[in-house]
């Protein structure tokens, strides 16, 4: 069986038409089997404001087998590996159905962000924290969102560092060395 290009193209067209859902899908390369999806963090969760990149790989048997999905953006969530972004979600495994689509799968990921299932964890450490100390979990998840998922405007970050009393050159240099990470750059400047 070869990749069902007709169905994938139709799915991509349908996703690009639907701006209301908030999810996006783009081709990663020239082939139709490697895609990249973007899921907005759901409102009223620690993930709000984040834009989560999801790596999507389609098997040749798609849609009769589920798409392989993995978070590229780091997420602090009981059902998502904090190390490699692997996702524990039934519809991406045995509960997949050929009548589901990439869009519905991405929306399921968004729903998973809203309602963690700590009883069926992917990341045991996160799940334990979620169950033992919910406040700490939410703080950590929020910190990860702000550090990794919220798109940053470089100039804004630079301005914030300058407001703390550093020169523009120093701020830019520190940011460059920290790969754009505001916290690491600040640590460097302060340390």
């Amino acid at each position: 069986m070869t990749l069902d290009a007709g169905r994938i193209n139709k799915e991509l067209k349908e996703i690009s038409k639907d701006v209301a859902s908030g999810v996006e899908v783009q081709l990663r390369g020239s082939g139709l089997n490697k895609l990249v999806g973007y899921v907005p963090g759901p409102k009223d969760t620690p993930y709000e404001g984040g834009r989560y990149e999801v790596d999507i790989n389609l098997d040749e048997q798609y849609p009769f087998v589920p798409p392989k999905m993995r978070f590229v953006t780091k997420v602090w969530h009981p059902n998502i590996s904090s190390a490699n972004g692997a996702i524990c979600l039934d519809v991406l495994k045995d509960q997949w159905s050929p009548a589901l689509t990439i869009k519905t799968a991405l929306l399921s990921l968004q729903a998973l962000l809203s309602s963690p299932q700590p009883d069926d964890p992917q990341d045991a450490v996160v799940a334990k924290q979620y169950l033992d100390d919910r406040k700490l979990f939410e703080r950590t998840a929020r910190h990860w969102t702000e550090a990794f998922a919220i798109p940053k405007n470089e100039d804004e970050v630079c301005m914030r560092i300058m407001e703390m009393g550093f020169s523009k050159e120093a701020a830019q240099k520190a940011l460059k060395e920290a790969n754009g990470d505001e916290n690491i750059a600040l640590e460097k400047l302060l340390g």
């Binding site: 139709k10 009769f64 509960q95 159905s97 050929p98």
Partner: protein, 197 residues
């Protein structure tokens, strides 16, 4: 009653407006003894009826609400009148008092076959125009298969009632042995073709 009961009643309508009209016409034709059938929301007819209704109205209304489903018999037309249609009240219809259009007065609404006199209304005229158009049979190209997302080819259905292309549902069953829409267990024996024409 015997005359109407003997007829097959193949079509069930959810709205009894038209039925009432036909029933009236039927009554007017003098077909059979009174059956507890039909109803109407037409205000002009209601008013007419209000004037005509006698003291037995209440009792009969109670009987009517327990009566049969609204059915229009489109197949067994009488010899004398090809447009005659049988109508029996729909059991699923809410009680008359709950219908907003009739709620304003306690006097209106009950259609009593014996008391209905609808002078001058021709059966042919009403039955042709008043019959509700049944939803047209959906054309095959209009429906998309949830698996290939294309218009359905070789339309097929499952025992759970979901519709797919025959090749698509075959592949699904090969992969998962369940319905892609509702996840019910499924084998190819439970899938069959649908022919719309």
């Amino acid at each position: 009653m015997a005359a109407t009961a003997a007829r097959p009643v193949p079509v069930v309508l959810h709205d009894d407006d038209e039925c009432a009209e036909h029933q009236e016409n039927r009554r007017q034709d003098g077909a059979g003894p009174a059956t507890e059938t039909g109803s109407s929301r037409g205000t002009s007819r209601q008013q007419q009826r209000q004037e005509q209704q006698g003291p037995s109205r209440k009792r009969r209304r109670g009987q009517r609400e327990n009566s049969k489903a609204v059915c229009v018999d489109l197949t067994s037309l009488s010899d004398s009148d090809p447009d005659e249609v049988q109508c029996i009240l729909d059991r699923r219809a809410p009680p008359r008092a709950q219908r907003p259009v009739l709620a304003s007065s306690s006097q209106q609404g009950c259609l009593l076959p014996q008391q209905q006199v609808n002078p001058g209304k021709s059966i042919a005229a009403s039955s042709a125009s008043a019959l509700p158009a049944l939803p047209p049979a959906s054309a095959e190209p209009g429906i998309k298969c949830p698996v290939c997302l294309d218009p359905i080819t070789q339309m097929s259905t499952t025992h759970c009632g979901h519709v797919f292309c025959m090749p698509c549902i075959k592949d699904c069953i090969k992969a998962q042995k369940r319905c892609p829409k509702c996840r019910k267990a499924l084998t190819m024996k439970q899938v069959h073709r649908v022919f719309l024409e």
